[in-house]
């Protein structure tokens, strides 16, 4: 304490205290306002729907039609549900940049609040799968890794590869990598079946099983490289490249060296 009191008359003491105080107030306000935002009453919901409608008219209606009934180049959105909107817009797939093959994950155009508003608007048109809440998504508690692995290999690996690295589909379409995908989006993809993916309804794969799959994917993601460098976990193709370039290449280089020294 004596040490600190020695510096209390230092010329930097005043500004430093001010910065600490400002940071403290800011953080407190931020936390308080975040907890205040959560409740959504009917009034908030109808406001969100209205906001979502405005965003939709500006950003989506040129392809999906004024009332989301679809058009020549885009499907109807009646009944796709909030989960679908959250997945497609939240991962940046919609609005689509290139319509040639399939929508790819990119930086989202809309922020979280705008996505929620859009989802509320689409959900208000007709009932559909809702965005899973954090309580539903507690895969750490409700999932089983080994069972998830079995389910993954049964249902997902044929497109997404044995380690969730993604794979090729026909005509340039592809199953994207699952590494680094948020649990919420994996769950939403399962219940809405975006792009070429089939819908895995709760009858096919129960919610608990879905969480097991997510838990297995997260385990695969976190798994250390047990055998050394993985070369992308895509199987023997990269291994073959390594053998020819690093293995035999190195050995031939050494053979050349051994025989030149002899002269």
């Amino acid at each position: 304490m004596k040490q600190i009191s020695l510096y209390r008359r230092h010329k930097a003491a005043g500004p430093l205290l001010l910065i600490i105080a400002l940071l403290g107030i800011g953080t407190t306000f931020n936390i308080a306002s975040a907890t205040m935002k959560a409740p959504s009453n009917t009034f908030d919901r109808s406001a969100a729907i209205e906001e979502g409608k405005q965003i939709f008219l500006k950003g989506c209606s040129s392809c999906h039609g004024i009332n989301a009934i679809g058009g020549a180049i885009a499907p109807s959105l009646i009944g796709v549900g909030a989960a679908s909107v959250d997945f497609q817009v939240g991962t940046g797939r919609m609005p689509m940049a290139d319509m040639n093959t399939q929508a790819m994950r990119k930086k989202p155009v809309y922020n979280e609040k705008e996505v929620a508003a859009l989802a509320a608007y689409i959900a208000s048109l007709a009932p559909g799968p809702a965005v899973p809440t954090d309580a539903v998504l507690n895969y750490e508690r409700d999932g089983n890794t080994a069972e998830g692995g079995q389910l993954f290999r049964n249902n997902c690996a044929m497109c997404h590869n044995f380690a969730g690295q993604g794979g090729a589909l026909t005509q340039g379409k592809y199953a994207p990598t699952l590494m680094g995908v948020e649990p919420k989006y994996i769950y939403e993809a399962l219940i809405t079946g975006p792009q070429s993916m089939p819908v895995f309804s709760d009858k096919t794969i129960t919610p608990a099983e879905k969480l097991s799959i997510i838990k297995w994917i997260k385990a695969a993601e976190a798994e250390p490289n047990l055998g050394g460098a993985t070369m992308g976990r895509i199987g023997p193709v990269s291994e073959g490249l390594v053998v020819w370039i690093l293995g035999l290449g190195l050995l031939i280089a050494i053979a050349v060296w051994l025989t030149t020294r002899a002269r």
């Binding site: 794979g167 055998g227 199987g235 023997p236 193709v237 291994e239 293995g247």
Partner: protein, 528 residues
């Protein structure tokens, strides 16, 4: 004599009196081996085989070759409690619970891949330099047998752990077996001990993989190496090298030291790969069940071209007399490789039939001096490479954002078009290189020094090349094409006119060359 020398002498005498080995040893230890890096490719094959034997023996101590169901209770959590075969469970145990097990598994697998790569590189060296010519045709065929054995041994090894990837490989194997007309399905039942996947295949495969095939390998490798020993190694043309001698180092001490050291280098590189790079992470694939498959399921690289051929085959099937003939498997997986391997095995005889050359050859060809053979090799490599690329079409499609269908159509067309183009380009290249050799001999090396003559003319100074180099560039033989006129010297009509016509045509194509510098030409230019 020192005491050590006395003792060694006594020991050697003891052995010699009983085995009479002194004469043989003296002859053998003075044997000379020529020195060139490409002659060490075969050594890489042999050393990787030794590594395979050692690491493989280690793995058999823990591997349980059984398709019996077990519940996995090992340390790898993501698979805990799953039902799997004992083969897969024991491979997991080798990977995670046996000390050094994962390293040994990875060394074994990398060594297998290096083994096959070195065999292919060795084969290409022997082909392009004409080392297969008389008297070494048998050794060439033994080499082809070793390559074929390597395919089988690799396939079985890949299939033993019974993980999802190896199961898929077996599925395709069973499909290929079934594609044999008429006997196919019976043969498959016999092999797998029932309908796929059966219960008998893994134990059977294990015995073949660790006993029969390694035994066959050992026998064939021994004959292969003994023939090299007996027939002596070939050498590249050079000063003092003739068809009747071998220029190089005696086996003791130089060659032995180098070869012994090289073994440890090969072992070192393999162990290094095994330590730093993951290969076949079977725990990620999961246990095999026939209902599952992973995207991007591939065979190891040496089978990749066969997979690629199957992938590009159009779906053709014939139903006749209660049998189905799957042309889409039969042609790319059995007929085409059958033709390729037969032609490859008989190539030495085919070439000597074309050239009519029945003499012994111990001096190697420079690939450019036999344009037709070199072009044929380039054509075959192109064919296999296109097939190999198509074997990885899904991986290419995802990593380079291409359409898998486009890659497939590219391969379907390219496999017919690109190999002939490669043939023509290579032949032209060889002839151009011959032309440049001719220039080099006649006008010497371009020094890049420009000199201005008194008349104002600029000329580049050419330096004559050394006599040794000139010998290398001109010592090869340029044979005239065969002539088989329809009526022979005695006025008798020759039999088999059509066959002779073909032979003459091929011979003509084979002997296309830029005429090499003759002694007269060299003399003439020297007088300038």
């Amino acid at each position: 004599m020192t005491t050590t020398e006395k003792r060694l002498g006594a020991a050697a005498n003891f052995v010699d009196e009983r085995l009479g080995a002194a004469g043989w040893m003296k002859k053998s230890l003075n044997k000379v081996f020529p020195d060139h890096w490409s002659f060490m490719l075969g050594e890489i094959c042999m050393y990787s085989f030794v590594i395979l034997l050692l690491s493989g023996t280690f793995l058999t101590l823990w591997f349980d070759p059984s398709q019996r169901d077990v519940i996995y209770e090992g340390v790898y959590a993501p698979l805990k409690g799953l039902k799997m075969s004992a083969a897969y469970a024991s491979t997991l145990d080798i990977s995670f619970e046996v000390r050094g097990g994962l390293l040994m598994r990875q060394i074994h697998h990398w060594a297998a891949n290096i083994f096959m790569a070195a065999i292919v590189a060795h084969l290409l060296r022997v082909f392009f330099t004409g080392a297969f010519r008389k008297p070494r045709e048998f050794n060439w065929i033994l080499g082809i047998i070793l390559l074929t054995l390597g395919f089988l041994e690799g396939l079985f090894g890949y299939s033993l752990p019974d993980d999802l990837l190896s199961g898929v490989g077996l599925r395709i194997t069973s499909a290929i077996v079934q594609a044999f007309p008429v006997i196919g399905s019976y043969f498959s039942f016999f092999l797998f001990g029932g309908a796929f996947p059966g219960v008998g295949f893994i134990p059977r495969m294990f015995t073949i993989h660790v006993l029969l095939l390694p035994g066959a390998f050992l026998a064939v490798i021994t004959i292969h190496v003994m023939l090299v020993w007996y027939q002596k190694h070939t050498q590249f043309p050079g000063a003092g090298r003739t068809e009747k001698n071998v220029v190089g180092h005696p086996i003791l001490p130089v060659y032995m030291a180098k070869a012994g050291g090289f073994f440890f280098i090969v072992f070192g590189v393999t162990a290094f790969l095994g330590a730093v790079a993951s290969i076949n992470p079977i725990w990620l694939y999961g246990p095999y069940t026939p209902g599952q498959i992973s995207a991007g399921s591939q065979p190891d690289w040496y089978m990749g071209w066969l997979d690629g051929l199957v992938r590009m085959a159009p779906p053709l099937e014939t139903h006749a007399f209660g049998h189905t003939i799957s042309w889409n498997i039969l042609i790319p997986a059995l007929i085409v490789p059958g033709i390729i391997f037969t032609l490859m095995a008989f190539y030495p005889f085919i070439e000597s039939w074309i050239t009519g050359d029945k003499r012994e050859h111990h001096l190697l060809d420079r690939p450019r001096n036999v344009p037709n053979r070199t072009a044929l090799g380039a054509m075959s490599i192109t064919f296999v490479l296109i097939a190999l690329i198509n074997g990885g079409n899904d991986i290419l499609a995802t990593n380079f954002h291409m359409s898998i269908n486009q890659i497939m159509w590219f391969s379907r067309i390219a496999i017919f078009i690109l190999p002939p183009i490669a043939f023509i380009i290579t032949k032209r290249l060889c002839l151009s290189l011959q032309r440049s050799d001719r220039d080099l001999v006649l006008h010497g090396r371009e020094t890049g020094r420009l000199v201005r003559m008194p008349s104002g003319e600029f000329v580049e100074i050419h330096e004559p090349i050394s006599a040794e180099k000139r010998w290398i560039l001109t010592s090869h033989e340029q044979r005239a094409p065969l002539e088989l006129p329809p009526v022979d010297a005695r006025g008798v009509k020759r039999q088999q006119a059509l066959k002779n016509k073909l032979r003459v045509r091929l011979s003509k194509a084979h002997s296309v060359a830029v005429p090499k510098v003759s002694a007269a030409e060299l003399k003439e230019i020297e007088q300038h």
